[in-house]
């Protein structure tokens, strides 16, 4: 079975390095790539009535903005690379959702960058890369 790699991608420099790494790997092994962008979202957050009213509209805006500015440029850039590219765009907890995307796509690897958080916040809440490494059912590569 050829490799299928899910790349957690948010357009940052770290994410670009992770994507490059994954593309090289896919080229070498004849695999394919799923570029996955997750919009941070908790169904348990608190919103004002006006935010509730506008939520559906904002969601549409957020999705098209992400599609246009994050995912499309990647697809354009990689269309001549010879690697098969798919995209996934979802809301949720970033680590959990990347894992769900990997399961759904039957991928056998996840590649992600890291934000290099050290400090109190990541100690309290954990980092995305850390949570991925802990709960992913497939191998995870964290690209520095």
């Amino acid at each position: 079975m050829p490799d299928k790699i899910v790349v957690g991608y948010d357009g940052s420099d770290g994410a670009k390095r992770a994507l490059d790494f994954a593309v090289e790997k896919a080229k070498a092994q004849g695999g394919s790539i799923v570029v996955a962008h997750v919009l941070e979202w908790s169904p348990y957050s608190f919103l004002t009535p006006t935010e509730l009213e506008e939520r559906h509209m904002r969601r549409g805006e957020e999705l098209s903005r992400a599609e246009e500015h994050v995912l499309s440029p990647v697809v354009d850039q990689l269309k001549d690379s010879g690697v098969e590219i798919d995209t996934a765009l979802k809301y949720g907890n970033i680590a959990d959702t990347l894992i769900a995307i990997a399961k759904e796509a039957k991928a056998n690897q996840i590649v992600t960058g890291r934000q290099g958080e050290s400090g109190l916040a990541s100690r309290l809440f954990g980092s995305v890369a850390g949570s991925l490494a802990q709960s992913s059912p497939v191998p995870v590569t964290i690209v520095p």
Binding site: L39, P43, F46, L52, R55, G60, E62, K90
Partner: protein, 513 residues
């Protein structure tokens, strides 16, 4: 001619000399004008059945809640576990992530209702109606769950979804669209009437009562000062949020308010644990008072009226306001939002209000005659005498501070934040009614928002009596219209309910987790 010129000059001179006196009496004058101009409305809503002291509006609400409870086969108890599962997100499609969840709709609706009704309103109920009022309040809360279920199901079913993705819902919409569907007349008329009362309710209970009690709480902590000062500050902040779109303030409030709610209940629980030997006695007082009144003004009926009134005012079941807040949820099944919304009166009234009442009773704020066990009335004979002569939010504050002195400061902060978040919610409900009447448009919306802010100042300056009367009257007037509509549309809810339950049983509606 010269005489004519002198007169305004003299008037100005007098006005300057009298300025300090006028500033002091400004509160009194606002109060007087307000009481005089709203008195007729209040008497109309609270007029008793001929030959009794029982206000017809209280019967109206209780009869409705009872009918819904029976008609939907005790839905509030049977659907309770499923409601919790829905809020947890067990039945939410993961592909709908990013849309308004059941939890968010519930939390927003709750932050509109959990507030002063739970802190000040309960104190008023127990202060006038005695501990027995608590019993009737809990009963009204449990029954009210069925009313809330009915109105919120309809709110989602008949909401308007616009091409730009915005959602508008509420009683105005089910009155017009639902009545049309069933071929009933007067839907539009009811919708207009409801909208008028909704605007008054937004200005009354959703605004003036909040400003009033926030001022009472602040001056209780820092010392007495004129109410219009608090009013101006509050009005400025509300203005910044609803007109200036200052989302950061609203965002902070939305995050702090739930924690305040949890802190409030936790503190109440600690006080109850510290006095656990008196809990049995307190419930004894509640049950005995419910059927005898234990000497309160009006006896058992007095306790009952106060309990029902404060419950309705606090959880707003049957009022129609929640139907506006719950309409934005993303669901294919209107019934699911009905189920979720029935948790609202439970959390608001059965849990939080009861906590407040128990703390007031257990800490011995109400003065009773040691020999007869009956409560002693104050000099005016209108309420039970309290240890320090407190009423409303000050009574709750005294009760909590009896165990934890510092809690009055936390409570002051909580009251201010609760008041603020309730105002923001009601400014939205009022605005929805306003735009339903006058159409959407920036200028039209701005006019309402400015009026709303003016009433913040009036509310803070007026005294509790007239404000609470008007607030109650306006909110109950909404319920009069809304419940008529609920009666007409309840067969539709029943059909939805049966269809949903059979699909749930057959496994067509399935869990995602």
């Amino acid at each position: 001619m010269t005489q004519f010129i002198k007169v305004p000059a003299m008037a100005t001179a007098i006005a300057i000399c009298a300025a300090p006196v006028m500033a002091q009496s400004l509160d009194d004058r606002v109060n007087e004008i307000f009481a005089n101009s709203t008195g007729w409305f209040v008497s109309l809503i609270f007029s008793p059945f001929p030959g009794t002291t029982f206000p017809w509006i209280v019967a109206w609400l209780v009869v409705a809640a009872t009918i819904f409870t029976v008609y939907f086969g005790l839905v509030q108890f049977r659907a309770f576990p499923h409601s919790i599962a829905l809020v947890k997100g067990d039945y939410s499609d993961p592909d709908d992530a990013g849309e308004v969840s059941h939890f968010q709709a519930l939390a927003t609706a709750l932050s509109g209702t959990v507030g002063l009704g739970n802190i000040a309103g309960v104190a008023v109920a127990v202060g006038i109606g005695g501990p027995g009022a608590t019993f009737w309040m809990i009963l009204a809360g449990l029954m009210g769950m069925a009313s809330k279920f009915t109105e919120c199901t309809l709110g989602v079913k008949y909401r308007n979804e616009y091409p730009d993705g915005k959602v508008s819902g509420g009683p105005m919409y089910y009155m017009t669209k639902g009545f049309e569907e069933r071929g009933l007349p007067a839907g539009k008329f009811l919708a207009i009437l409801f909208s008028i009362f909704c605007i008054l309710g937004a200005l009354g209970g959703g605004n003036m009562f909040q400003a009033n009690q926030a001022h009472a709480q602040i001056s209780n902590v820092v010392g007495d000062y004129p109410g219009w000062i608090t009013g101006l500050v509050f009005a400025a902040v509300v203005f910044a949020v609803i007109v200036g779109g200052l989302k950061s303030i609203a965002k902070v409030t939305e995050k702090v308010v739930p924690f305040m709610g949890i802190l409030y209940v936790a503190t109440a629980l600690v006080i109850l644990l510290l006095n656990f030997d008196k809990i049995g006695w307190a419930f004894g007082q509640i049950f005995e008072g419910a059927f005898t009144g234990l000497g309160v003004a009006g006896g058992m009926v007095g306790a009952l009226i106060q309990g029902f009134k404060r419950a309705a005012f606090s959880n707003e079941a049957g009022v129609g306001s929640a139907a506006i807040a719950h309409s934005a949820v993303r669901t294919k099944e209107p019934i699911t939002e009905g189920y979720v919304s029935l948790l609202e009166p439970f959390i608001d009234t059965v849990v939080i209000c009861t906590m407040t009442a128990l703390v007031i009773i257990i800490t011995g704020q109400l003065v009773s005659d040691p020999e007869t066990g009956l409560y002693i009335l104050n000099e005016a004979g209108s309420a039970i005498q309290t240890v320090d002569g407190n009423s409303g939010v000050a009574l709750t504050s005294a009760a909590f501070s009896a165990s934890f002195g510092w809690f009055q400061y936390v409570l002051a902060l909580a009251v201010v934040l609760f008041a603020f978040s309730t105002m923001i919610s009601w400014s939205y409900y009022g605005l929805k009614a306003w735009t339903f009447l006058f159409g959407e448009g920036e200028t039209k919306e701005l006019i309402f928002k400015v009026i709303f802010c003016v009433f913040v100042v009036i509310g803070a300056a007026a005294s509790l009596g007239p404000v609470i009367d008007f607030s109650d009257a306006a909110i109950f007037a909404m319920a009069v219209v809304n419940i008529v509509a609920l009666y007409c549309l309840m067969p539709i809810v029943k059909r939805e309910l049966q269809s949903y339950n059979s699909r749930l049983k057959s496994g067509e509606i399935k869990k995602y987790t």
